[in-house]
């Protein structure tokens, strides 16, 4: 059958399938019109914009984590939930990034860095210069009250307390790796 004839038949079918509608349908629908149609949308528009942007999971996670830290700073830099905020951020990032281990490592490191800064600690951060998946790489370190240093290594970001000499040795090894 030719397309033109098909098109004509389809249009005819439309007329044939038109049927009367329950008379109270329109009234039922009108009865559900909210009393305030658009005014309450003001606050929702921002949410709609975010939804419409269809941000990626990673971007959404970053926005949420940054918001959490901003809130934390706003409330005086104290994490009232102990270490929960960092731990929950970690879980959240793990969930969002799934198997992308490289992304996950660097995201976790930066979340941890932000967290420490919000707690008043000022770590020295190497996260953007080292291979984050290398479990021997020093990702960040900070000085402890006893004169020693706390080091966070790559991979799973394990923490280890080291002396000043050990830290120098670790940094030396990193430099050697970079010059190779």
């Amino acid at each position: 059958m030719e397309n033109q004839k098909l098109e004509k038949l389809l249009r005819e079918l439309a007329g044939r399938t038109a049927e009367p509608i329950a008379p109270d349908l329109a009234e039922d629908i009108k009865g559900q019109i909210p009393s305030r149609l658009a005014h309450r949308r003001a606050g929702m528009n921002a949410i709609n914009i975010v939804i419409d942007l269809r941000v990626s999971k990673l971007a959404a996670a970053a926005v949420i984590v940054i918001s959490l830290f901003l809130c934390l700073r706003f409330f005086g830099g104290r994490d009232l939930t102990g270490d929960n905020l960092y731990e929950e951020s970690k879980l959240f990032i793990n969930y969002c990034l799934g198997n992308k281990t490289a992304d996950r490592g660097s995201e976790l490191a930066s979340v941890l860095y932000e967290y420490l800064v919000s707690q008043g600690i000022e770590p020295v951060y190497y996260g953007d210069r080292v291979d984050i998946s290398d479990s021997n790489a020093v990702v960040m370190y900070w000085r402890l009250s006893d004169g020693g240093y706390m080091v966070r290594f790559g991979g799973d970001l394990r923490a280890e307390a080291v002396t000043a000499e050990e830290l120098i040795e670790l940094q030396g090894r990193m430099l050697q790796k970079r010059t190779r």
């Binding site: 030719e2 038109a18 009367p20 349908l25 559900q32 949308r41 709609n48």
Partner: protein, 209 residues
């Protein structure tokens, strides 16, 4: 022909409809064309009266769209109500007057899809459930039996198409939307809509109608 259509049954089924069958209301079309812009801006401003006008202007079209997508009468009424409920919630996304019908059809299409996706549409076979074409009187039926049967076969064939293609054909040929409007309603580009339309027609053409 895969399925012989029993017109006697369908004639009985649609008997109550024939006396009330309505001709398309041209004045409503004119009114809509002239008032799209102002209606859209009044809706965005939250004017309740504009919402009732929108219902009056579109509830029949949306109901028939649902029917033509293969939902039964009762469900089509429910989905039409759901469509307007969604419309009230998404009025903030309404952009311009010209897009009013596409915007509403887009919502209707999503409501229908959500229904199928929830698995509640399994009881439907597709367009076939919407009732087959009848004739207004016995004499016309007798004179045009062959043609009416052809329309019936077309309706069955349409119901067998994938939903995406079915929706494409319904939007353009049966709901009378222009290519641009229908593409917007389907949420795709004009070019994509055109090629989808061509594929759907091709699939229909291959069937024994």
């Amino acid at each position: 022909m895969e399925k012989k259509i029993n017109f006697t049954e369908h004639k009985a089924d649609s008997a109550h409809l024939r006396s009330e069958k309505q001709a398309p209301d041209d004045r409503k079309g004119e009114y809509l064309a002239q008032n799209h812009d102002s209606l859209a801006s009044r809706l965005k401003a939250g004017e309740r009266l504009a919402a009732t006008e929108l219902v009056d202007a579109y509830y029949e079209q949306i109901y028939l769209f649902m029917r033509r997508l293969g939902h039964d009468r009762h469900l089509s009424e429910d989905l039409t109500q759901e469509c307007f409920l969604q419309a009230w919630h998404h009025i903030g996304q309404l952009r311009s007057g010209g897009a009013l019908n596409s915007w509403l059809y887009r919502i209707a299409s999503n409501v229908s899809k959500a229904h199928w996706r929830r698995g509640k549409g399994r009881e439907m076979v597709g367009f076939d459930a919407a009732g087959l074409p009848g004739s207004d009187n016995e004499a016309e039926y007798n004179n045009n039996a062959g043609h009416l049967e052809q329309l019936g076969r077309l309706q069955v064939a349409l119901g067998k198409l994938p939903r995406k293609w079915q929706e494409t054909l319904v939007l353009h040929y049966m709901q009378g939307l222009t290519i641009a409007e229908a593409a917007q309603a389907a949420g795709i580009r004009k070019g994509t809509f055109k090629s989808r339309l061509a594929r759907a027609l091709e699939a229909l053409r291959k069937q024994d109608i």
